[in-house]
């Protein structure tokens, strides 16, 4: 089976000459559809940089990004409309939620759909259904700043999955939450990722959050170590059921 997303010998260099910093050094990663992968490593190891590179927010200096078998970035050249790619094929979750404060909860979720051409009414209906499922239906019409941290992150997860993305990238999604809420968000992410057959990459440095993940990649000094399988697919399926 072809991996959904591949980072192939990705290198990211910031600055030049004496100020040059190699943030990613020949890093490679491949994630299949429906696979949940954790990206771990100490601060400054390049986890977020790799996420930025894979999402084409900050394309790599060298190497290739392949999505669904198609090269979307090669040696610093982005070969597709990166924003279109993100809104149609990716869902991104931030540590600090990054919800749009002037949109209500339901509008935050529906936004991506409307950007993809879904009529507003249909977008709101689908967003409402998802929020109900995530137990946020009663908070649909409030603005994000009035939500609790846990609610905001669930809302951010909803925004990331509403467009049925092929890839979900989450940067420390539980970093601003306590353990209990963090586990709940991670569980939600796992559940929705598997349901939607998405390739899920989660940056975390909390080992307690790894339960239910398929593999973990450990990063050091911009390099990605070999993926460690931490749970058999059969066990993962059992978790979902």
């Amino acid at each position: 089976m072809m991996p959904t997303i591949v980072g192939d010998h990705v290198t990211k260099v910031f600055g030049r000459g004496e100020t040059e910093v190699v943030a990613l050094n020949d890093a490679s990663i491949a994630v299949d559809a429906g696979e949940l992968v954790a990206l771990m490593g100490p601060s400054g190891s390049g986890k977020t940089t790799l996420l930025r590179a894979l999402s084409l927010i900050d394309p790599p200096t060298r190497g290739r990004i392949v999505l669904d078998g198609r090269i979307v970035c090669e040696d610093g050249r982005v070969l597709v409309d990166d924003r279109r790619l993100r809104r149609e094929r990716m869902g991104i979750i931030f540590q600090s939620y990054n919800l749009i404060p002037f949109l209500t909860a339901i509008e935050n979720v529906a936004l991506v759909l409307t950007l993809n051409g879904v009529p507003l009414r249909d977008a709101r209906r689908r967003a409402r259904a998802l929020l109900d499922r995530l137990d946020l239906g009663h908070r649909a019409d409030v603005h994000p700043p009035t939500l609790s941290g846990g609610e905001q992150q669930r809302l951010a997860v909803a925004r990331a999955v509403i467009n049925d993305p092929a890839v979900i990238l989450a940067d420390e999604p539980t970093g601003a939450l306590d353990t209990e809420r963090g586990k709940a968000v991670m569980d939600l992410l796992r559940r929705l990722g598997r349901e939607r057959e998405a390739a899920v990459i989660v940056v975390t440095h909390d080992d307690r959050m790894l339960e239910g993940f398929d593999r973990v990649y450990r990063m050091t000094d911009g390099r990605v170590g070999p993926g460690e399988r931490i749970r058999r697919p059969v066990e993962a399926e059992a978790l979902v059921s």
């Binding site: 977020t48 993100r86 002037f102 949109l103 936004l111 409307t114 925004r159």
Partner: protein
């Protein structure tokens, strides 16, 4: 999904407050335009109210509103005989100030023949002047009640009627009196001047043997001639050709005949042109200030949304949607500011000391200009928004 609408809704209080500030600025622009229109209407009101087709004035002058013009008051009898003339009548104009108690009043005094042209177009309270002496009809904007006694020089007038809608080009209320009264006020000399003239006359008479038998006091009325007017108003017969009548009068070489349109042009060009340029310049400056302020507001609003814009880019929002957010907010700010300014000026213009006339066509043009400057002002914000780095939305932890 309209992002601008939602952003405005979310920050409604601040948006309205900003729009109110802009509205006050635009109200100033509207006021300038209104003051100019008022200036034109006021300046032309005397000419228009007279109902004259021609103004006969002193040769080589532009008439009584632009410079000094003196013509014999009985010239009207000659002009009446010109073919095409239905009516002619002398008028005297003088800008003067009198005191009522401690309060100074500045008026444009108009003297007219009671049965002739140049009187008040309408008397809205009291009655017209019916006595040939010492009665006055004054503009309602002078705020003097009927029956008030007004002393001007040696004469005391009683206000018998009020008129409205006419002021001088300086915005002063008009006061109508009989021609004889106006002539006495304008052309009679002060006692000292009369005594000086008599002394000079006596000396001249004594020095001239031919006049040896003439008594100097018999000549006094000659040097005290007040039978002058500032213009003769002419109304033509229906179907008469104004240029032909004009040419006929000017053939005498002593007078100039201006059509009403020419008189209006003289007023517009020589009397209020500088005022027009002044208000135009002020309006232009205020519009430039408005543009800069809108640009700064929009730029600041964009700066405040930097992280939101970065997030929008991360979730895949196209540049055109982000640009539309900034542009629509700028235009909305301008339009709401314009509406608030229009409401404000609509409710306050009557309290201005000078007449303010808000003309619909002026407002439409200003609305177009405001929309244009909002688009222009938004460019800075749009440029900033499009240069926001989407990585700003992400943490930089690992």
């Amino acid at each position: 999904m309209n992002l601008a609408l939602r952003d405005v809704r979310y920050r409604l209080g601040r948006f309205l407050l900003t729009a109110l500030g802009l509205g006050l600025l635009l109200a100033s622009v509207m006021t300038m335009g209104g003051v100019y229109q008022g200036l034109v209407i006021e300046a032309l009101s005397i000419v228009r109210a007279s109902g004259a087709d021609l103004w006969v004035v002193q040769k080589n002058t532009n008439g009584p509103f632009a410079e000094t013009s003196r013509v014999p008051d009985d010239l009207y009898r000659v002009i009446r005989a010109v073919p095409g003339v239905r009516e002619a009548s002398p008028v005297a104009f003088q800008s003067l100030q009198f005191r009522l108690g401690a309060k100074p009043f500045r008026v444009q005094l108009i003297g007219y023949r009671l049965a002739g042209l140049g009187g008040p177009p309408a008397v809205v309270a009291g009655r017209p002047i019916v006595q040939s002496r010492y009665e006055m009809v004054i503009g309602r904007d002078a705020r003097l009640p009927l029956g008030t006694e007004v002393r001007i020089g040696r004469l005391v007038f009683r206000i018998v009627g009020l008129t409205q809608g006419i002021v001088s080009s300086a915005g002063d209320p008009v006061a109508f009196v009989s021609l004889q009264d106006a002539q006495e006020i304008q052309f009679s000399k002060a006692n000292e001047a009369v005594r000086n003239d008599r002394a000079r006359l006596e000396a001249d008479v004594r020095a001239n043997p031919v006049l040896a038998t003439v008594r100097p006091d018999a000549l006094a009325p000659i040097v005290q001639n007040t039978h002058l007017a500032n213009a003769i108003l002419v109304r033509l017969e229906p179907g008469a050709d104004p240029p032909a009548v004009q040419a006929h009068i000017e053939r005498w070489n002593y007078y100039r005949a201006l059509t009403a349109a020419q008189q209006e042009e003289v007023l517009a060009k020589s009397v209020i042109e500088r005022g027009r340029q002044q208000t135009l310049l002020m309006r232009a400056i205020l519009l430039v200030v408005s543009t800069v302020i809108i640009a700064l507001i929009i730029y600041t609003m964009t700066l405040e949304k930097t992280r939101d814009i970065a997030t929008l880019k991360v979730v895949g929002t196209p540049d055109r949607t982000i640009a539309a957010l900034i542009l629509q907010e700028a235009v909305a700010l301008g339009l709401v500011g314009f509406a608030l300014g229009a409401v404000l000026i609509g409710r306050t213009y009557q309290y201005f000391p000078r007449r303010v006339v808000i003309v619909a066509s002026d407002q439409y043009i200003l609305l177009g200009i405001v929309t244009g400057i909002c688009v222009l002002a938004s460019l800075l914000g749009i440029s900033k928004a499009l240069h926001v780095d989407p990585t700003t939305a992400l943490g930089g932890g690992g």
